[in-house]
C-alpha cells in the first residue's frame, strides 16, 4: 500500500519493551501540536501500549498498520483544537450532512484533517486536503460548489472554512463536531 504522509518517522524496529514507548515519548516532544508521528516497531506488545500511552498522555492514536513483521503506529500530537472559538458563521451538524449524503445531493465533503487521520477513517468520496495545505491547493476545489468542511472536532474545519470564504468560496459550511462523533458511512483501514 502507499505510504501515509507523516511529519516524523521513528524507527523503533528490533527494540524490546519499554524502548519503543520511551523513544516515542522523546520523539513526540520534537513535534509541533497537531503533527503526525509514525512509529515503526517489531515488538508486538507495542500496539496495545502505544494506544494506552497516547490516551493517558492526551495524544490521538490514529491506528496501526501491520506490514509483515513491522507494526506502523500513527499518532497525532495533542493540540488544543477544541478550545478555540469558532468564527465561520455557516455551520451544520453531523446529522444534517449525513442526510444530504444519503439523499445523494450534489455536494462536496472536504476533510481537512492530516493525511494519516483521513487514511484510517473518512467519509466515502471526501476530498482530503490537510488544513496546512489548503492555501496552496485551492485550485483543486470549485468556488461554486456546496462545500462541507469536516475535521475531528470542528475547529480545524472552522479555520479552513474561513480561509475558503476569504478566497471567494460562497457556499462553505462547517460540520460540527465532525469525525470524532461521525456515525454515518466511512471508508476505514483495518486497525
Amino acid at each position: 500500500m502507499e505510504n501515509i504522509k507523516v511529519n516524523v518517522t521513528l524507527d523503533a524496529k528490533g527494540l524490546a519493551c519499554p524502548m519503543p514507548i520511551v523513544k516515542t515519548k522523546k520523539a513526540m516532544n520534537t513535534l509541533e501540536a497537531g503533527q503526525v508521528l509514525e512509529v515503526q516497531a517489531t515488538d508486538k506488545g507495542s500496539k496495545a501500549d502505544i494506544q494506552a500511552w497516547a490516551n493517558s498522555a492526551g495524544h490521538q492514536y490514529l491506528g496501526t498498520i501491520e506490514e509483515g513483521d513491522v507494526l506502523k503506529h500513527y499518532l497525532r500530537k495533542s493540540s488544543n483544537d477544541s478550545s478555540i472559538e469558532r468564527k465561520h458563521p455557516n455551520v451544520t451538524s453531523n446529522d444534517e450532512l449525513e442526510k444530504k449524503l444519503d439523499a445523494n445531493e450534489n455536494i462536496v465533503v472536504l476533510d481537512v484533517r492530516e493525511a494519516a487521520e483521513y487514511a484510517f477513517n473518512h467519509i466515502p468520496n471526501a476530498v482530503s486536503i490537510p488544513l496546512g495545505e489548503i492555501e496552496e491547493r485551492l485550485s483543486e476545489l470549485n468556488k461554486d460548489d456546496e462545500t462541507y468542511v469536516v475535521c475531528r472536532t470542528g475547529s480545524r474545519s472552522d479555520l479552513a472554512a474561513q480561509k475558503l470564504a476569504e478566497n471567494g468560496f460562497s457556499n462553505v459550511i462547517n460540520v460540527v463536531p465532525g469525525m470524532s462523533a461521525w456515525t454515518g458511512k466511512t471508508n476505514t483501514l483495518n486497525k
Binding site: C17, P18, I21, G45, A48, D49, A52, W53, S56
Partner: protein, 375 residues
C-alpha cells in the same frame, strides 16, 4: 539499594507458602485486569510503565516499606527499568525474571501420591495459567497426561528419575492451551492416545482412547483404566490410575465443573456433562483422589501446592455436583458463562495439527487465564 531478579520458581514457592508479596505490575491496565499473578497474601499496585517514564515519585507513597516488592511486566524489560528507578530511590526490590511470559510457562512438579508397587504420581502445576498435567511413573516407565507445550521439562524430569516415557495421553482436545502430547510422543516414540470423538479433524496418527481401555505402565501392571465422560468435549475421557486416582480432565474440578461450550456445542453437550458427573462418576469409589486438568482460583491449592481432593468430598462440597434440578444445571452451564479463553479456536486448530504457529505465536495465543470451568 540493589535490585535483583526473582524467578517464577521463587514466586511459585511464595504462592504455595502463602507468603506476603507486594506486586507492582507495570503492564497495561487491561492486561492486569485480565490476568495477573495470584497469591493469597499478595497485594497489588498496577501502574503502566509508560506512566513512570518521568519518574516514580508519584507512586512512592503507595509502595510499602515493610514488604517484599516484586515488579512485574509482560516480558521483563519494563520491570527492570522500574525496578532500577525504585532501587535508585532507596528501595530493595526484585523484578520477575522473564516477565508474565515466563510466569505463564512455569511448571512446578508436586508429588501427589504413591502407587501400590512403589511407583509415583506427579502433578505439574502450571501456576500462572492454572493448567495441571501429570506423570505416572512405575518401574522405569512413565506415562504423561495432558502435557503442556513446554515439553523439555517433562523429558528432563523423566530422565532425572530414570524413567522412559512410553505412553502419552490427552483427556480431550484442549481449547485453552496447546498440547505438548504429540511432540513428546514423537520425540520418545511413545504411544499417543487421544479420544477419537475429539480427533475427527486431526491431521496426525494417534491411538484411539476409548472407555474401558487398560494401559500398563511398568512391569507391575499399574492400571490406567479409561472412562468415557463426555460433556466438556464430546470425547472427554477420564482415567482411574491404580484404583486410587481419578484424572478428571476438564469434566470435574475442585471448586467447579467443566463448561460445555468451547466447541460451540453447549446445548448438545449439557446432557452428556450431567450424565458424566451425576451418573458415571457416582458409580466410582468415593475414596478416589480427583486430579483435575485445571484449577481456577488459588484457593483450590492444597498446602503443598498440589490440587487434589477425594471424590467423596467433592460430592459433598462442589456446588456443580449438587444441583438436583436438571433445568437449573442446564442454566448454570449454558448461561452467564465466563469469557472464552484467548484464541481458543486457534488453539483447538493447533491441537488438531491444522495450523502450526511458531513458538512466539503460541505464547501469544495462550496468554491469560484458562477459563475452562463454570462455578
Amino acid at each position: 539499594m540493589a535490585f535483583k531478579a526473582m524467578t517464577s520458581k521463587e514466586v511459585t514457592k511464595k504462592v504455595f507458602n502463602k507468603e506476603n508479596l507486594f506486586v507492582l505490575d507495570v503492564r497495561n491496565e487491561s492486561d492486569f485486569q485480565d490476568w495477573k499473578i495470584e497469591g493469597r497474601n499478595f497485594r497489588y499496585l498496577n501502574i503502566p510503565y509508560f506512566e513512570l517514564l518521568d519518574g516514580i515519585e508519584e507512586i512512592m507513597d503507595k509502595i510499602p516499606a515493610d514488604q517484599e516488592i516484586l515488579v512485574v511486566c509482560a516480558k521483563e524489560g519494563s520491570s527492570v527499568m522500574v525496578a532500577e528507578m525504585l532501587s535508585d530511590a532507596g528501595l530493595d526490590v526484585s523484578y520477575l525474571q522473564g516477565g508474565m511470559k515466563a510466569w505463564s510457562e512455569h511448571l512446578e512438579p508436586v508429588k501427589v501420591g504413591d502407587l501400590k508397587d512403589g511407583g509415583e504420581v506427579y502433578q505439574f502445576v502450571r501456576i500462572g495459567k492454572g493448567c495441571l498435567s501429570y506423570m505416572v511413573i512405575s518401574n522405569g516407565e512413565a506415562a504423561i497426561i495432558d502435557a503442556t507445550r513446554m515439553t523439555d521439562l517433562y523429558l528432563e524430569f523423566a530422565e532425572g528419575i530414570g524413567a522412559t516415557i512410553t505412553h502419552v495421553f490427552d483427556t480431550h482436545l484442549h481449547a485453552d492451551h496447546i498440547s505438548g502430547g504429540r511432540a513428546i510422543a514423537e520425540q520418545t516414540n511413545a504411544t499417543y492416545w487421544l479420544p477419537p470423538k475429539d480427533a475427527t479433524e486431526v491431521t496426525f496418527d494417534y491411538e484411539p482412547l476409548e472407555g474401558g481401555i487398560d494401559v500398563t505402565i511398568g512391569e507391575t501392571k499399574i492400571n490406567i483404566h479409561s472412562l468415557y465422560s463426555p460433556g466438556h468435549t464430546i470425547g472427554s475421557t477420564s482415567f482411574v490410575v491404580d484404583e486410587k486416582f481419578l484424572l478428571s480432565g476438564d469434566i470435574l474440578f475442585i471448586d467447579s465443573i467443566g463448561r460445555p461450550d468451547l466447541a460451540g456445542k453447549a446445548e448438545d453437550w449439557v446432557g452428556d456433562l450431567r450424565e458424566s458427573l451425576y451418573t458415571r462418576y457416582r458409580e466410582l469409589s468415593e475414596e478416589l483422589v480427583v486430579l483435575p486438568a485445571h484449577f481456577m482460583i488459588i484457593d483450590e491449592l492444597n498446602d503443598d501446592g498440589s490440587v487434589a481432593e477425594k471424590l467423596g468430598t467433592l460430592f459433598e462440597k462442589n456446588h456443580g455436583l449438587n444441583i438436583e434440578d436438571e433445568n437449573e444445571f442446564r442454566k448454570l452451564v449454558t448461561e452467564n458463562l465466563p469469557p472464552q479463553p484467548n484464541a481458543y479456536q486457534e488453539i483447538r486448530e493447533t491441537n488438531m495439527g491444522k495450523i502450526n504457529p511458531d513458538t512466539e505465536k503460541q505464547r501469544e495465543m495462550e496468554i491469560g487465564p484458562n477459563r475452562c470451568a463454570v462455578r
